[in-house]
Each structure stands twice: as structure tokens, then as C-alpha cells.
């Protein structure tokens, strides 16, 4: 356990523990030098302040041994820190052979995950506990960066090649994922959640998509609205973000570019989710919304439509 826990997030993996030991080491080393320098400074200022008395000021200009000492001791310390830091870095970069590979696609402003069995999710990554995970990442637009603070891991996601990030989760529960490479207006909304689950729970999730058969559709829709990042662009209180608000959307007549007025019904909503740029509402940008084809199961699309219906 890190000795300086309040500053750092929980330790989600063994790598995180290793990093924290180094963090703590540097922290206490820094405290030592800070006290040495600033403490010395304050002592000197207090002791040798000019109080108007006549005093001979001794003029000395160098002290060889002292100068060598304060060059060599820090040098040795930083060499130690370098090797330490490099060692834990390079260990974390090597993915074990039995890693579960998940493909990550970053786009403005969401994370898409694709699992070995072809399941795809948006802004939520489910992994079984204790199994090494290797993320193979690419971006379709600008540079993003995948940041998992609890694993102390971060890697830029580039538009022209694959980068990888490896971690072995050991703490069950929710972990925050951030984008840390500035990518535009939605940068700070480009969040995702990592769910570390038991092997059994993970298997069940893969099969059901995480929703109970008994949950009412509109409730699932409300969940999906947040989880699948609809919330980034569509408000539910009538205010305008990037796209039209969902409030009172169902049954409303919208002006469609090139088509004229169209009434919003189940089919229109379904088409807008699967093929968003087919019918764009007048005054809103075209091409901004990515397709959700393959990202949402049929039942989930139904759930979203039901949810929108409830927003009067």
C-alpha cells in the first residue's frame, strides 16, 4: 500500500503498487531536500539578517569538497531513480502471452471497445479480474490518450497506427477512464468506465449485455442514454448541445435537410441511431454523429426509443 494514499487513486493492479512505491520514494526524498534547502534558507535569513549592526562579512567564494558533494550525491540519487522508473515502466509494457486482447477505437468523443468474441461496447470496458488485458488502440480522427489512473497506465491513441496498453486488474469494481490528450470541445466528456468483474459475472455480461430480462425497457434506455454517450450531444431538458434535445422529441415534426418536415416516430428514431446522417435536422451539423450499428443490440435500440418516448 502506498504510504501516501490520499494523493493517489486506489491501486488497481500490481503495477500500480510498484509505481506507488517509487512515487512515495521520490515524495519523501523531495520532502527531505525541500526541508534541507528551504529550511536552511529560512535559518540563514533569520540568523544573518541585517540588523544594522557593524559586522565583518566573511568573503569566501568556493569550497571544492562541498561543491563536489552536492553535485555527486544528487547525481547518484537520480541515476537510481532513473533505473527504478525505467524498470517498472518496461515491465508494464510487456503483455503476457495469455492476455485478453480488446480493441479500442477512439473517436471524438467516445471510446469504442471490441471484445474477442465480437461484442462491442461504447464507453464501458468489462474485464474479468486477474486476467491480463492488452488494449490495442487506434483513433479515427485526432490523437487521444487512454488513461486509467487506478492502473497508473496511460497511452496515446494515434490515428495512423496501433498502440498498446497492458494491465492486470486485481480490484473488482468501477474504475474511471479519461482521455488525456486534448481533442476538442468534448475532450472533458470523453470518459469511460472500466468494470472489473469476477470471471462468472464477466461471462454473464458478455451474454446479456448487462441487462436483466425483467428490467423495463425505458429504464434500460435511461441507462443506455448515459452509458452509450447520447448524453454528450443530446440533452433531456430541451437545451441545445451538439444535436437536437430528446425532450419532447417523439411525435414532434422536424425539418429535415433536403426532405422537409418529417414526423419523429419509431422508425425515424431507429434510422437515426443506425444511420445517423440519412436524415439530419435542419440547423444541425451533418456527419458528427457516428453510427451505432453493431454497437447496440436490437433490444437496446428499442429500449432507447422507449426512453425517448417518456421524455415529454
Amino acid at each position: 500500500m502506498g504510504i501516501f494514499a490520499p494523493f493517489l487513486p486506489i491501486q488497481g493492479s500490481e503495477h500500480a503498487e510498484r509505481v506507488d512505491v517509487l512515487y512515495d520514494f521520490i515524495f519523501y526524498l523531495d520532502i527531505f531536500f525541500f526541508v534541507l534547502i528551504v529550511g536552511g534558507l529560512i535559518y540563514i535569513v533569520l540568523k544573518y539578517r541585517d540588523r544594522g549592526e557593524e559586522r565583518e562579512v566573511p568573503q569566501f567564494s568556493h569550497h571544492f569538497a562541498l561543491e563536489v558533494t552536492w553535485s555527486v550525491v544528487p547525481l547518484i540519487l537520480v541515476i537510481v531513480i532513473f533505473f527504478w522508473g525505467f524498470n517498472s515502466y518496461i515491465t508494464s509494457r510487456v503483455a503476457p502471452n495469455d492476455s485478453m486482447e480488446v480493441r479500442v477505437t477512439a473517436k471524438k468523443w467516445q471510446w469504442e471497445f471490441e471484445y474477442p468474441d465480437g461484442t462491442r461496447t461504447l464507453n464501458e470496458l468489462h474485464v474479468p479480474i486477474g486476467r491480463p488485458v492488452k488494449l490495442i488502440m487506434a483513433s479515427v480522427d485526432v490523437i487521444h490518450s487512454f488513461y486509467l489512473p487506478t492502473m497508473r497506465e496511460k497511452m496515446d491513441v494515434l490515428p495512423n497506427r496501433y498502440t498498446a496498453l497492458t494491465f492486470t486488474p486485481k480490484v473488482e469494481g468501477e474504475h474511471q477512464i479519461y482521455c488525456t490528450e486534448y481533442c476538442g470541445d468534448g475532450h472533458s466528456e470523453m470518459l469511460a468506465k472500466l468494470y472489473v468483474e469476477s470471471e462468472a459475472a464477466y461471462k454473464k455480461w458478455l451474454e446479456t449485455g448487462g441487462f436483466d430480462e425483467k428490467t423495463p425497457l425505458n429504464q434500460i434506455g435511461a441507462e443506455l442514454y448515459k452509458k452509450r454517450a447520447c448524453v454528450t450531444c443530446h440533452s433531456i431538458d430541451g437545451s441545445r448541445i451538439q444535436g437536437p434535445s430528446f425532450k419532447g422529441l417523439y411525435g414532434k415534426t422536424e425539418q429535415i435537410v433536403g426532405l422537409g418536415p418529417v414526423q419523429v416516430d419509431d422508425n425515424y428514431l431507429r434510422e437515426s441511431i443506425v444511420n445517423p446522417n440519412a436524415k439530419v435536422v435542419e440547423g444541425y451539423p451533418s456527419g458528427l454523429m457516428p453510427t451505432y450499428k453493431g454497437l447496440l443490440k436490437d433490444r437496446e435500440i428499442d429500449a432507447l426509443i422507449e426512453y425517448i418516448k417518456t421524455l415529454k
Binding site: R103, A138, L158, P159, R161, Y162
Partner: protein, 128 residues
Amino acid sequence: MSEHRHHIMPVKGYLAVWAGLVVLTAVTVWVSYFNFGMLNVAVAIIVATIKAALVCLYFMHLKYDTLFNRVILLSTIVFVALFMGFTFIDINSRVKVEPSQFSDNSPLPLPAKFRGEEGKKEAGAVKN
């Protein structure tokens, strides 16, 4: 002091340097018809550097100039070398991450015209 400062080269000297540059231009064009494989670039750069050295030393009088002006030129070369050297350390040692078993319909980040670039590049390297 003045003697040293105002070193005046004879006209013959300038003409000799000029002739040297013309001959080296001919050489660099001539060798470009041969294929030395990987060494192509090296040969071209070496010949160009000899030419550059001639220009610097004689036309630009660096041979007779102050130490500091020579230091400026040398450090320029050092900084250019650092800039290029460190960048190439990265470019040449990047580990490629293979996308392994993923389905084809997942969006590949490169546009269509650049797909299969890797294969072509390898072929090019062999020919080179």
C-alpha cells in the same frame, strides 16, 4: 592583426576550388547511375559534404577565420545531428503493434489508399 584579418586568397585558388566543385558535381551525377543499395544516400551525402567543405573553407574563408566563427559552424552541425539523430532513434526503433485477430469491419485508421502499405514498404526495402 590586420595582416591576419584580411587574408587575401589568390584568384588561382578560387578558380581551383571552383574546378573542384564542378568535378565533384560531375562525380555525384556519375555515381547516381550506379546502385550501391543502402549506400546510395551515404555516397550522395559524402560527396555533397566534400563540396560543402570546399565552399565553407575557401569561398567563405573559414580556413582563415576566427576560432569562434568555426565553433559556430561546428555547433550548428552538432545541433542538426542531434535533431536528426534523436528523431531517427525513435522512428527506427518503434515496435509495431499488430492488430491480430480482429474482424475486418472494424475501422482501420488508415484510409483505403494506404492499406497494405507495410507489405509494399518491405518489398521496397528489399529492392533498395
